[in-house]
Structure formats: structure tokens, C-alpha cells
């Protein structure tokens, strides 16, 4: 049983990162029906920005006490801000003018945007994996026979805090309501006096900022990154968004955690599981979509006319 709980913790940590990335996919899809392929790369950019900020702060290893709280908050918030701005710029420069174009055009543009970001990052830090300072000291907590690392607690807590904050924002604030209205009916939203350019930019800002947070957290968690990091993580997070029901914010969170758990348990319980994780993850996606084509929490909404 200890092994089970151990993998549960590992899965939740992994899942927290996927969930944070998945939110950006699902929010953008919800509001402009675009699969933003560049989103995974914005997440990688989050690890790069975090690394640059840590270097700037002169941090190259463990930090303790209050300084740790400061370093974590400053680095993460700055990475979120920078990624958020990047997301807004991408929408402004590449997607906005294609808003009324046939769907394929923005989709291909998103793939192009992804290539651009990957190449910029390759120029910036080179083609090989780079190490990320282990900021969080490594005391492990024992609970029963289960070992929980401090950084795992950080990942899970941060992911949950941000998701709760996002839900509160979307449910209760004026901007959150405007975003939901724009996602449901863009013309009607405009007739309420909502400036949809603002709400769409805001969606990219928040989605990309969450990817930035995920980038920081994953850097700390894995201790490494490279320019192509976002490809697989992005694909899995996108899978999580589809699994939960694309366009549905709660679904993205659920999907993220589920994918993380499936991955952790597959690694443990399937012989030579580590090699089969991706097969298992995507098989789960296929199975769910066979029985629930709109995803776990997605509503079967008829195609808009």
C-alpha cells in the first residue's frame, strides 16, 4: 500500500503541473475556439524566464527560511508576468487578425508560433538540456511509509491555490463574467458593451501566466529544462484539457490531475511501465473520448450556427 500512496503523491505533483498548463489550453479554446499550439512553448519559456530571474538574483542552490519564500514568490510572479505578456503579444500579433478567418488559418499560425518560440529558446540557451537550481531544500516528510518531498508539497499547494483563485476570479469578478459571456456568445457579449479584444487578451494573459507558474514549478521539480520541454508536456496538458472537456475550466484541472495519476501508476504497476506511460496516457484519452466525446465534464453543446 505504501507504494500506492507514494505514487499517489507523485501523480498529484505531476498532475498539478499538467493541470496548470491545461487551463491555458482550455481557456483559450473556450473563448476563441483555437487550439493554441504555442502554449506548451510558453510553459517552457516559463522555465527559461525563471532560470534567468534566479540567475539574476544570484541563486544557484538551496535557499532557506524567509529568503526561500521571497525567492519563490518573486521568481514565480515575475515568470508569470513575463509569460502573460508573451501570451498577450502572441494573440495581438498573430491571432487577432485571423479571428474571422477560416479555422485552419489560426491553427497553422499557432503551429508556426510554436516553432518560432522553440527556435528563439534554442538560440537563447542552446540545444541541450540545462540544469535548474534546486531552490527548495530537500527535507522529506515521512507519513506512514510514504515519503513526501518539500517540493512536491509546493507543487500541489501552488496548483490548488491558483486553481481556486482562478475559479473565484471567473465566477465573481466583472472581468470573469465578461470572459464567460464572450466565450458563450461573442456577438451578444459585444451588445452588452463588452470589449472582446480586452476579454480575449485577458484570457491569454491569465492562461499564459498560469503556464509561467507551471514553468517555474516544473523547473524546481525536475531540476532541468530545455528548449523542447513544452512539446511533450504541452501535448499531455492538451490531452488533459480534452479529457476533462475542452473549454471547461474545472475539467482541465480534473484532467490534469488524472493524467498525472495515470502516468505515475502506469510507471509503477505496468512491467517496464516507464516505457509505456505515454501509451497508457493516450489510450485513456482514446477510451474516454469513445464513451464521452465531449470529455468528462464537457457538455454536449450543439455546434454554433
Amino acid at each position: 500500500m505504501d507504494v500506492f500512496y507514494q505514487q499517489l503523491i507523485n501523480g498529484l505533483s505531476l498532475g498539478g503541473i499538467y493541470a496548470l498548463i491545461a487551463l491555458g489550453y482550455t481557456m483559450v479554446y473556450g473563448i476563441i475556439e483555437l487550439i493554441n499550439f504555442a502554449h506548451g512553448d510558453v510553459y517552457t519559456l516559463g522555465t527559461f524566464f525563471s532560470l534567468a530571474i534566479l540567475t539574476g538574483l544570484g541563486v544557484s542552490g538551496e535557499v532557506h527560511g524567509l529568503a526561500l519564500v521571497g525567492v519563490v514568490l518573486v521568481t514565480m510572479l515575475a515568470a508569470m508576468l513575463l509569460c502573460g505578456i508573451t501570451g498577450v503579444l502572441i494573440e495581438r500579433l498573430a491571432y487577432r487578425r485571423l479571428r474571422n478567418a477560416p479555422r485552419l488559418a489560426p491553427l497553422i499560425t499557432a503551429i508556426g508560433m510554436s516553432f518560432i518560440l522553440e527556435n528563439v529558446m534554442q538560440l537563447w540557451k542552446g540545444p541541450s538540456p540545462i540544469s535548474f537550481p534546486a531552490v527548495i531544500p530537500n527535507p522529506s516528510f515521512q507519513a506512514g511509509g510514504v515519503e513526501i518531498a518539500a517540493k512536491q508539497i509546493l507543487v500541489i499547494v501552488l496548483a490548488i491555490v491558483m486553481m481556486v483563485a482562478l475559479q473565484l476570479f471567473i465566477r465573481n469578478t466583472k472581468m470573469g463574467k465578461a470572459m464567460r459571456a464572450t466565450a458563450q456568445d461573442r456577438d451578444a457579449a459585444q451588445l452588452m458593451g463588452i470589449n472582446i479584444n480586452t476579454t480575449i487578451a485577458m484570457t491569454f494573459l491569465i492562461g499564459s501566466a498560469l503556464a509561467g507558474a507551471a514553468g517555474f514549478v516544473s523547473g524546481v521539480y525536475y531540476g532541468t529544462t530545455w528548449f523542447f520541454n513544452g512539446f511533450e508536456a504541452g501535448l499531455k496538458a492538451f490531452t488533459a484539457a480534452v479529457l476533462g472537456g475542452i473549454g471547461n475550466v474545472a475539467g482541465a484541472m480534473l484532467g490534469g490531475f488524472l493524467i498525472g495519476l495515470v502516468e505515475a501508476f502506469a510507471t509503477q504497476y505496468i512491467p517496464q511501465g516507464a516505457q509505456w506511460t505515454n501509451v497508457v496516457v493516450f489510450s485513456v484519452l482514446v477510451l474516454v473520448l469513445v464513451f464521452r466525446p465531449s470529455g468528462l465534464l464537457g457538455e454536449a453543446v450543439p455546434e454554433k450556427v
Binding site: K177, A181, D185, D187, A189, Q190, L191, M192, G193, I194
Partner: protein
């Protein structure tokens, strides 16, 4: 000076001409109706005024200001409310949230609360449904919500696109009664209807659109009396 002044409007969807040279005016305090068959260009005219559609030619002035350069939210801020065809309520949001969104452009909480009360007094049915999702309302209730939501922006000009569509005769009477009431309280109204008889009965003036062109423009009484209009739109 007219409150709303539309002049020489041309609009197209792709290569299809939807409006050619449409001109109309609405004076402060009037109820003006725009009647015509399906596809005559009534909705296109309203969408052009709201800024949802860019006309290819012409001018639209509201209270003296040009509207054509504004985005739709700018038009709402100037005081033009548009309750669109098909109601278009936010189905997955509550009735209360729909009404709140109607007041999106406004800042004064006390004024919003006042109008919220007034809308609920006008449409008592909505008060019973405040927490319900708008998508679960009946057609008539959704129409009330669509009109109420637009009133929440406290528009000087209220544009209604087919408010009676798909409603039972009794509900149609209710809705038209409410439109008259809203007008009596000082809101100018531009009303699109297929139900021409009903629309002309409450309007001061009317325009008849045929294939993108205004073919008749007159007082409501004269239009009701006109042989040609009677034959084409009032069933003889």
C-alpha cells in the same frame, strides 16, 4: 435633429448585397418600426447600427456623433441598446448574471440596483427565476430576459429585433404592452417585426424594407391604410 440618422447605407455579406441605400431616421421619443419579409435586410440594418457589421458605404449618426468608427461596445456606451434576433441570452449563466452583464458599461451601483428593480417589476416572472440558468427558461421568459438585459444599460435608443418571434399570442400582447410602457417612460424605440400589424399598431412611424431597399416610409396610420402595404404585409 433626429436622434438616429442612417443615410445611404450599403452592406454586403461576401459578394451578396444585403442593403442598398437604406436611409432612415428616428426622433427622440418615437417608436419606429422596420417591417419587411425574411431576408429583406432588417437585421442587417440593426447589426450595422450596433457595429457588429461594417457597412460598405453610408453614414450612421446618433445624437450627432458618427457611429461607424466605433466598436460595438462603444456604440452601447453612447446609449444604443440592441436586443438581438433569437434572444441570445447567455444560456449557461443565471438570470441574475445575464441582467448584471446588461449593466456592464455602467459604474454607479445605486443606479444599477434601481434599474435592476425596475426590470424585475416590469417582468415579475424574471424575479422568480433569478438563480436559474437562462438556458432553462421558456421562450417567452428568455425574450423578457433579453429585453430586460438590454434595458440594464439604460439606453436612449432601444433596438428590438423580432421580440414576438415564436411567442404565444398572449405573450405577444404582454411584450408589446411592455414595449409601449418602456417608450412611455422616455426610451426611444426602433422595432423590427414580421408581425407588421402588431408593430404598426404601437408605432408612430414605419419603414418597409424590400430586398435591401426602403420602399415605403410613412406614419404608421398611413402605412396601415395603404393598399400596397396591406396587400403585402397585413394579409389584405
Amino acid at each position: 435633429m433626429a436622434l438616429l440618422e442612417v443615410a445611404d447605407l450599403d452592406a454586403q455579406y461576401g459578394r451578396i448585397r444585403a442593403l442598398s441605400g437604406v436611409s432612415l431616421t428616428v426622433d427622440e421619443g418615437e417608436i419606429v418600426t422596420l417591417i419587411g419579409a425574411n431576408g429583406a435586410g432588417k437585421t442587417t440594418t440593426l447589426r450595422s447600427i450596433s457595429g457588429l457589421l461594417r457597412p460598405s458605404r453610408g453614414t450612421i449618426r446618433f445624437a450627432g456623433d458618427g457611429l461607424l468608427k466605433l466598436t460595438p461596445d462603444g456604440v452601447v456606451r453612447r446609449g444604443v441598446g440592441h436586443s438581438p434576433e433569437g434572444r441570445r441570452v447567455f444560456a449557461r449563466m443565471s438570470v441574475r448574471e445575464n441582467l448584471e452583464l446588461g449593466a456592464y458599461t455602467r459604474a454607479s451601483r445605486s443606479e444599477i440596483a434601481e434599474d435592476f428593480e425596475r426590470v424585475l417589476t416590469t417582468f415579475p416572472r424574471l424575479r422568480e427565476r433569478l438563480v436559474q440558468k437562462a438556458g432553462t427558461l421558456s421562450g417567452g421568459e428568455q425574450q423578457m430576459l433579453a429585453i430586460g438585459r438590454t434595458l440594464m444599460s439604460r439606453p436612449r435608443l432601444l433596438m428590438l429585433d423580432e421580440p414576438s418571434l415564436g411567442l404565444s399570442p398572449i405573450l405577444v400582447q404582454t411584450i408589446f404592452g411592455v414595449i409601449r410602457e418602456i417608450n412611455a417612460r422616455g426610451t426611444t424605440i426602433l422595432l423590427i417585426e414580421q408581425n407588421a400589424r402588431q408593430a404598426l399598431s404601437i408605432a408612430t412611424r414605419g419603414y418597409v424594407l424590400e430586398v435591401g431597399k426602403i420602399v415605403y416610409a410613412d406614419s404608421a396610420a398611413n402605412l396601415m391604410a395603404s393598399e400596397a402595404v396591406r396587400a403585402a404585409y397585413l394579409g389584405g
